[in-house]
Amino acid sequence: MNARGFQGPPLGGIVTPSMLVAFLVFGTLPFWISQVGLYPYLGIEVLIWCIFALGFNVLLGYTGLPSFGHGAFFGIGAYAMGLAQFELMPDLWLGLGCATLAGAAFGAVVALFLSHRRGIYFALMTIAFSQMFFFVASKWTSVTNGEDGLLNIERLPADFGFAAVPLRGNTAFYYLCFAGFVLVVIGLWRLIHSPFGKVLQAIKQNEMRTSFLGYNVYLFKWASFTLSCAIAGFAGGLFAMAQSGAFVQIMSLQWSGIVVLMTLIGGGFVSFWGPVIGTVFFFVLRDLLGAYTEAWLLWYGLVFMLIVMFKPEGIAGMWQDAVRRLRGRKPVRGTGPLAALWR
């Protein structure tokens, strides 16, 4: 406790109570998932998209930059994983490294063009680049195998030197994804509460003032974008192994749009966990509602519109309001130091 009365998170400043809950829930998932009528592979999908969405929210929720083409970097990561396996060496760590690096590299280049902008210019540029990448991926058949996709990507064993853990089974692979999830959560939590994270949030609220305070706004936006693309690439690498292939459809605008919807509905604008909540909500909806109607994505889109219109703080925002009401405070956005606890 410092002079200002703000407590840092307990447990050595690394893990918070909410993290522990999340880790517990996800860590034990393979053991209870069938009990609730679902299946282990769903857990893999959810975690991969959680990672993607958490990285994406650094850009959208914290920096306020709308990228509608992020699926391109997810797909680039997937292809990089496959290509690393086939062209370089079938090694898990190398593959994941390449996926992350590929995402970061392409993201870094695209970010050079984008970082001067916000809003609609930014959004349309991301669409343009995404479409271009989609186009290249579909046409460059010698490398990407075109519309058929890069097939037979294997779930390589996790080689720790002293032992190699095979990851072909869904449960084993799930724990690889879980490890990735833990790393990303811890890393991004620190990032959000670091000076860098604060500057990003400042940029979201008021770019001009931030630059008048001496910060190089262009560079920060560039970094935020590149980072979110690196994480997208990482998630893509996992995805390629999960699906045993890299397919161009994942780079479509539709999937890019879905991660936006997930992040916002979950409450990415007000909560660190928003993207996770949103991802879970999406997949639950897909599997539960999708069983009854083909139009589930339409409903999801309508929910999104309603949320933007009436409760842009999303599900996490509703939760925060409910908690505040229980504690006898008015459900106003973000009053008081308690707000920090739920972030």
């Binding site: 063009f113 916000r118 609609i120 343009a128 309508l302």
Partner: protein
């Protein structure tokens, strides 16, 4: 010399495309003036126009009612005329619905408005997919304007001439409407300075609704006329909103003939790219957008425009 001559059909294509792009852009531009955010769903309404038109053309388009048998037996040209009249009206109504949804985001961070129109675009696309299916559809056109025509030694698509003529007609009508009629003057004023219009006592909400209906109907008309050229797929919306945006940035928000001229330029780029590599023609549009925004998009008119937000 031969090469240049061989390019002429592609130039023709480019011109017809450009005129239709200009039509979409003009509708887009009117809406920008009264809105606070760019309407990303504009392209989906363009697509919706084509789909609704298909519904008016044949029973497979969705209107499978026995009492319409007589209507569907009419000659193609008549049905096309009906489609060109009624489909934009239907889309205009949807456009008004969208404006009503957007009201909740006025005054807030423009990011929310942008996200809402993005969501609307997705919802519209999904709706189209559900009603009409994901595969490509075709808009039947009268024999008189389809097929090729031989001019000199080159074959030109007849439809392109029709499309260009129609687009020119629509643009001129639009210009006359804006310049000469009181409604048009109101829309122009509203598009230019909504604050002032409100100060003059005009009902701003009604004006916004009207402008939206109007602008989206224009997109629908363009969508219908474009259908035989581009094909009708749920995803065609995105490909329509991008050139509209490029045109606005190039031609300037608020410049009617600037938009038309920029439209022609963009159309030419796409058409001529198509001459050399058909696959690349749409991608050329995206590359053009990137180039234009990178080099040209500074605060339009020197003041903070709605695009800057």
């Amino acid at each position: 010399m031969d090469l240049l001559l061989n390019l002429l059909p592609h130039v023709m294509n480019g011109l017809s495309l450009g005129l239709l792009f200009a039509l979409v852009a003009l509708g887009f531009m009117l809406i920008i003036g009264v809105m606070e955010v760019i309407n990303l769903a504009h392209g989906s309404l363009f697509a919706l126009g084509a789909y609704v038109a298909i519904a008016f053309m044949s029973p497979e388009g969705g209107l499978q009612f026995a009492f319409l048998d007589g209507y569907f037996a009419l000659p193609v040209a008549w049905r096309l005329a009906v489609a060109l009249l009624l489909a934009p009206l239907a889309v205009g109504i949807v456009g008004m619905g969208l404006e009503l949804c957007l009201r909740r985001t006025y005054g807030k961070d423009p990011l929310y408005g942008l996200l809402l129109t993005f969501g609307a675009a997705l919802v519209l696309e999904e709706t189209i997919r559900l009603i009409w299916g994901p595969t490509e559809r075709f808009l039947p056109i009268p024999k008189e304007i389809s097929g090729g025509v031989l001019i000199g030694d080159l074959i030109y698509a007849k439809y392109r001439f029709f499309a260009s003529a129609f687009a020119i007609g629509m643009i001129l009508l639009l210009w006359l409407f804006l310049q000469k009629t009181p409604y048009g003057a109101l829309i122009k004023a509203g598009a230019h300075d909504s604050e002032m219009v409100r100060a003059l006592g005009v009902n701003l909400s009604r004006l916004r609704l009207m402008v939206f209906a109007f602008g989206t109907s224009l997109a629908a008309v363009a969508g219908i006329v474009m259908a035989p050229i581009w094909g009708v797929r749920p995803h065609v919306g995105v490909d329509a909103v991008v050139p509209a945006f490029v045109i606005i940035v190039l031609g300037g928000v608020g410049s009617f003939w600037g938009a038309v001229f920029a439209g022609l330029m963009v159309g030419m780029v796409v058409g001529l790219t198509g001459a050399f590599a058909t696959d690349w023609s749409l991608i050329s549009m995206y590359m053009l957008l990137i180039a234009v925004v990178t080099f040209r998009a500074r605060g339009l008119f020197g003041k903070k425009s709605v695009l800057e937000a």
